[in-house]
Amino acid sequence: MPLGGILFITIFVIVFGCILLLLASKLGRRVYDPVKFQTYECGIPVQEKKDTKISVKFYLTAILFIIFDIEIIFMYPWATTFKDFILSGQGLYVFVSMMVFIGVFVYGLFWEVKSKALEWD
């Protein structure tokens, strides 16, 4: 069971990173300057602005990603077993059922492209 190894290396990496960060924070010299701690905006004073407008495209991308990601995940068990299915004579059946699925997938993708959900400007 690789779980132990995974846990071990995760914890190790986290501890390692923390130690390094701690070390770096102790070793560096500090000079206090209030301007330095201001948010960096290309040198001009920070403009405090409520409601930063962020394009809705980002969620659209993320939402579409979720949906299509799952569709792709669905292909994985199919891909592993496809050979076995062919050898047991059910290849065409499984192939056709997957093609139906992919057809629906492509239709969805096509719709998104057509409805300009994937256009960035």
Binding site: I6, V31, T39, Y40, I73, M75, L109, L118, E119, D121
Partner: protein
């Protein structure tokens, strides 16, 4: 993880070594990148510190360590610190699952008045039988560190950079995931070790009941899945935020992306993460399409026989075999890493809309096409 203390200890040490391997690769790659870019651009690059400037990396590391610690005023402190550490984890976890060489078998031996062994140690962090899914799953966690860094910095620019970077990563993850469906279908397994084992020997495949063999081509995945390999490799560029897809860093628009507010050692950790992704990508490339640790035209048994003549049979021969294969794997890795670097200094950057267009409207459909094509050929070939 093992049945007794020795095995557990060795496995733990192995994991640490894998991690350190990744960490030490970063300065090397940075050096390579700087010298390489200088070579491409007809400059010298760092050449003062040490022979060929090799000690420059050490100097850089020390400089990083002694940088001033600094937290922006608007930052969310916990996330600001957690992000660089979190950047390390996914790459490490993924890299540890990739088989780097042949397993090493250790004969029974005496130690501390006790008989230990015999053991078989894998030349990898751990073996996972759903390797591909695991690697994909773990590397999809990379988006968190980016988002944490971007939001934790309390800076509009870094938030924007983080969103763009993560959007880009997830967009290309689709093409990436889809491009390997053909690979999975071909090998019929998720297990990376089995994939490598299936790529040994010379090219031979079944077609309509005939077995077709080649006398000189190695049995590598690239010959079965050229389109898949291309899409996969291109997508990994985007996954690891490298040029020509390093929009997150687009200096002109977003100053420097999600790590604007980072400096010193924290920046270095992000670097390690990014180069770690490159390493994982190259290793996966080698594993899926170029026979992993396999040496073309030479079987594992031949190498073992040769090693037995050099150091005598047993543990040491097995170790030597592993080392040889590891070297081959490293060589393959180096080639891909060099391609990464070469591309970075050759191609210009995409615009963001072009990037998204390429991911969704070009690579995703082509990957889908590759999947369908592979399955059709498969269906014809095997029935």
């Amino acid at each position: 993880m093992g049945t007794d203390v020795f095995q557990i200890a060795v496995n733990c040490i192995k994991l640490v070594i894998v991690f350190l391997l990744m960490v030490q690769a970063v300065p090397l790659l940075v050096w390579l990148e700087r010298r390489g870019s200088a070579f491409i651009q007809n400059r010298f690059g760092p050449n003062r510190v040490g022979p060929l400037g090799l000690l420059q990396l050490l100097a850089d590391a020390v400089k990083f360590l002694f940088k001033e610690e600094f937290v922006p005023a608007n930052a969310v402190k916990f996330l600001y610190y957690a992000a660089p550490v979190a950047a390390l984890v996914p790459a490490t976890l993924a890299f540890a699952a990739i088989p780097l060489s042949t397993p090493v078998s250790v004969d029974a031996f005496e130690m501390f008045g006790q008989t230990w062994g015999p053991y078989t140690f894998l030349w990898q962090g751990y073996e996972i039988n759903v390797g591909i899914v695991y690697v994909l799953g773990v590397s999809s966690l990379a988006a968190y560190s980016i988002l944490m860094a971007g939001w934790g910095s309390g800076n509009k620019f870094s938030l924007m950079g983080a969103l763009r970077a993560s959007s880009q990563i997830i967009s290309y993850e689709l093409a990436l995931g889809l491009s390997i469906v053909g690979v999975i279908m071909m090998y019929g397994t998720f297990n990376l070790t089995e994939m490598i084992a299936q790529q040994q020997g010379t090219l031979s495949f079944q077609f309509l009941g005939h077995t077709i063999t080649s006398s000189w081509l190695p049995n590598w995945g690239i010959f079965y899945q050229p389109l898949g390999a291309l899409i996969f490799f291109a997508a990994t560029f985007a996954e690891s935020n490298r040029l020509p897809f390093d929009l997150a860093e687009g200096e002109a628009e977003l100053v420097a992306g999600f790590h604007v507010e980072y400096g010193g050692f924290k920046m270095l950790l992000f670097f390690i993460g990014e180069y770690g992704h490159m390493l994982v990508a190259s290793a996966l490339m080698a594993t899926f399409f170029f026979g992993g640790w396999g040496i073309p035209f030479v079987g594992v048994a031949e190498v073992q026989a040769w090693a037995a003549t050099v150091v005598g049979a047993g543990t040491s021969a097995s170790l030597l075999t592993g080392l040889v294969h590891f070297m081959v794997f490293t060589l393959k890795l180096a080639i891909f890493l060099w391609i990464f670097i070469h591309v970075r200094w050759t191609l210009p950057r995409f615009r963001y809309d072009q990037l998204m267009e390429l991911g969704w409207k070009t690579m995703l459909p082509w990957a889908l096409f590759n999947t369908v094509l592979t399955s059709i050929i498969f269906l014809i070939a095997h029935s």
